[in-house]
């Protein structure tokens, strides 16, 4: 047919002859599977394991899935498709793409580059913490299972005794945290070493750009799924697992009236899919132009969400197990206290009739009961955890309770490490590809040197997170550098492509690449729904941020509180506040 041989007028404008000639210069993926795995690995990260289950649980279990799916369908997938399409079509990294769309939009590309750099700084620090725990998991017994002895060996170290051994190990032995963000302290040499190793590993995997990440991704993207399955099987066989799962999935529809839920669902989808980093644009730019990016986008986004759901099952089984164990401990301690005080025969009070007995004794001998200072046992208290709190405190405590703890600990931390590493690949690619295009270095300098320089500069800059106040800085970075800029960039991405590049031109490009015109859903989402949704989320986010004082949770061993068991509760609440402020993407 004549029309098949003569390209139409729009293609004349968009198809640039020199570009086609340059096709062979650009590196490309070995196969499609590598590309899909890289995008999946980039999207699936630590947040899928520790942010999503937490959100699901505090926002009414199964009911949270409704705003989550709506956000996925109207915000996540359209933006994802947009980024993949634009990268694949224009075959450039983020800076090149936005400069091509309009020179006024070049700032969006630079913004993506900066955000990728900043996020990779603190993301790798979290991996350094994971590495430290991994290195310490080979001991018998695990170092966080028992409090260390004090100087004259007559008891346990007081800071540990007042709190728990797991908290002590995290705040003192791993972070050696100061009580204030202004109190910087020294570099913690063990963290510096771990950070150096982590950046060295990142360098190894990204040394030649996608040639090396493409090979590494086979391991780092698939291994977490294997481990999650193992944990799923182990978790479901633990006692108390069903309580955790029931608690997690029980839908509470009333929660949907709270606008906070919708905001959190939108931001969670957004950060989980790693949008606006420039990494996705970089990945898809290495594709051949005639690739079905629509199918890829839908597939990867759905895989990401499925992974979140899949990961939450073992997480909540194990949390349920830990909560049940802790709850039983609490009950037993109370029962013993009561039996001793009232000189009752043993076995008279069991766990199931504890509440009846307690009620009876409280009415008949209230003073005696009050003098016992019994702790109220609440199953929920043990289930509220997310972020680093979930991984390093709650989960490590649960692992001590399982037989064969060293193996489980090693497995868990290697899984976290590979989850984070595959996301780091995307971040580094989001830095490397634009820099290569900016021609900051001459052609004769090999790519290895550039990636080495990036890793070195990042390592030196990230040393600030290994100070004693490092984790506070990390939290600040995560809350304020890794959230708002991404929303702004994404909003400008959508409006730039739809209204500056032109939706008609873009649809034709997509048609050229995939073979079909984007259907009504895409048109409506790109033109109206997504920009509107982005704007609403942005405004709501800013409004909520300005209403609260910027704050961070601190660990202060000098904090005095009576009675002593409240310190334990307080430290647990710190963990919850700490991790609630820590909105981790991916």
């Amino acid at each position: 047919l004549l029309s098949a041989r003569i390209p139409n007028s729009s293609m004349v404008r968009s198809l640039d002859i020199p570009e086609v000639l340059k096709e062979d210069d650009r590196p490309k993926w070995d196969n499609k599977f590598q590309y899909i795995l890289s995008c999946v690995g980039f999207a699936v990260g630590l947040g899928n394991v520790w942010r999503f289950p937490y959100l699901c649980q505090i926002y009414g279990g199964g009911a949270f899935l409704i705003p989550y799916v709506i956000a996925l369908v109207f915000e996540g997938i359209p933006l994802f498709h947009l980024e993949l399409a634009i990268g694949q079509r224009l075959r450039k990294g983020s800076i090149g793409v936005w400069n091509t769309i309009s020179p006024y939009f070049g700032g969006v590309g630079i913004g993506s580059l900066m955000v990728s750099f900043i996020v990779s700084l603190y993301y790798n620090t979290i991996l350094a913490w994971v590495m430290w725990y991994f290195i310490n998991s080979f001991q018998e017994p695990l170092p966080w299972s028992a409090c260390p002895l004090n100087g004259n060996r007559t008891g346990y170290i007081e800071e540990c005794h007042e709190s728990t051994a797991v908290n002590y190990f995290w705040y003192r032995r791993a972070l050696n945290i100061s009580s204030d963000i202004t109190d910087n302290g020294n570099l913690q040499w063990w963290l510096v070493l771990c950070l150096a190793i982590c950046w060295a590993i990142v360098y190894i995997c990204t040394i030649r750009g996608i040639e090396s990440t493409g090979k590494a991704i086979y391991v780092t993207a698939i291994f977490p799924y294997v481990v999650l399955t193992i944990f799923l099987i182990r978790g479901l066989t633990l006692p108390g697992a069903t309580e955790g799962l029931v608690y997690f999935f029980t839908p509470n529809m009333n929660i949907l009236k709270n606008p906070r839920v919708w905001l959190d669902a939108a931001t969670q989808i957004f950060f989980s899919l790693s949008l606006a980093f420039g990494g996705l644009i970089a990945f898809s730019s290495y594709n051949s132009p005639k690739n079905d990016c629509e199918k890829d986008a839908v597939t990867i986004a759905i895989v990401n969400s499925m992974t979140s759901l899949y990961a939450s099952i073992p997480v909540f089984s194990i949390l349920g197990f830990k909560a049940t164990t802790g709850y039983w401990d609490c009950l037993d301690r109370n029962i013993i206290g009561i039996i001793n005080e009232f000189d009752l025969p043993d076995q008279s009070i069991m766990r199931d009739n504890y509440t009846i007995w307690f009620g009876f004794l409280n009415t008949t001998h209230p003073k005696k009961i009050a003098s016992l200072k019994l702790r109220s046992c609440d199953l929920q208290e043990f289930l509220d955890a997310s972020g680093t709190g979930l991984a390093f405190i709650v989960f490590t405590e649960a692992i001590i309770l399982m037989p064969g703890s060293q193996g489980w600990a090693v497995l868990f931390f290697v899984m976290l490490f590979s989850l984070g590493l595959s996301s780091m690949f995307g971040n580094i690619e989001g830095i490397l590809t634009p820099l290569l295009e900016l021609h900051v270095v001459s052609k004769s300098v090999p790519k290895e040197v550039l990636s080495g320089v990036i890793c070195l500069v990042s390592f030196v800059t990230a040393l600030c997170f290994t100070l004693r106040s490092g984790s506070y800085w990390l939290e600040v970075f995560d809350s304020y550098a890794g959230s708002l800029p991404l929303l702004i960039i994404a909003f400008f991405e959508v409006t730039g492509v739809v209204y500056v590049y032109g939706i008609k031109r873009f649809s034709d490009d997509v048609k050229w690449m995939t073979g079909r015109q984007p259907n009504f859903y895409w048109q409506v989402s790109w033109r109206i729904i997504s920009p509107l949704l982005m704007l609403t989320v942005f405004i709501a986010f800013v409004t909520l941020q300005t209403q609260e004082q910027p704050s961070y949770g601190a660990w202060n061993p000098k904090y005095v509180c009576r009675p002593i068991f409240l310190i334990h509760l307080f430290s647990k609440n710190i963990v919850t506040i700490f991790s609630y402020l820590l909105m981790l993407q991916n």
């Binding site: 029309s3 003569i6 007028s9 007559t154 401990d329 000189d343």
Partner: protein
Amino acid sequence: MHNKQYSRSYFHNIIRKVYFFLNDRLFQGQCSMQPPSLPVLVLELLIFYLSLQYAWDASEEYLFKAMVAFAMRRYSNKETTQISNVLLCNMTERVSFWFVVTDSARNVTTVPGSEVEAAIRMNRNRINSAFLLTDNTLQFLKISSTLSPPIEPTVPVWVIVFGVVLCLVVAAILFLVVSGIRQRKKNNNESAETGDLEDKCDTPVTTENGIPCDILDLKAGQINGVYAADDERFTPL
């Protein structure tokens, strides 16, 4: 913490309080039936039983007396303390009782508390193992036991693991860098060779209108500027 480990067990169900009663005043080999109103060194013993391994009966009391007498003998190196010197008082159903150690050599006076304390401290592990308990399940209030330190290997484990990881990482980096340099050298050599070949053969590159012929194989075809502008005039097929 060890306390937690024990209470974590699903089977512990009994606390027994053993009041270890030491005082420097006279008890004259008799138990007073009321709680002592004298300022006394009361050592409270808390025992958490993992499971009911045995019932606490008269034989267990005998063993307890024997262990205390043994501790006193070992400490003072005199073989004068007899089982009859150790008296249990005020036995109740839940096995709480008081304890007195007398000294028959000194006319039925009680042994000073500090001596008994020291004797117990010296032989703590023997007493514990006799009852299949540990320092944490058998706690004396006044005697803070020196907790046995955890086994520290000469080289901390984490250093070993760190060393292994470091070596692997360094080896991988060296390998990759060296292989990259070699690849580059090979490419340079090859391009130099093909450059030589081209100079030798001087194959003509077919061109047409300034465009090399092999490019014309593209599916998209080549746009002839003459016809492109007229596209709108033609009816679409």
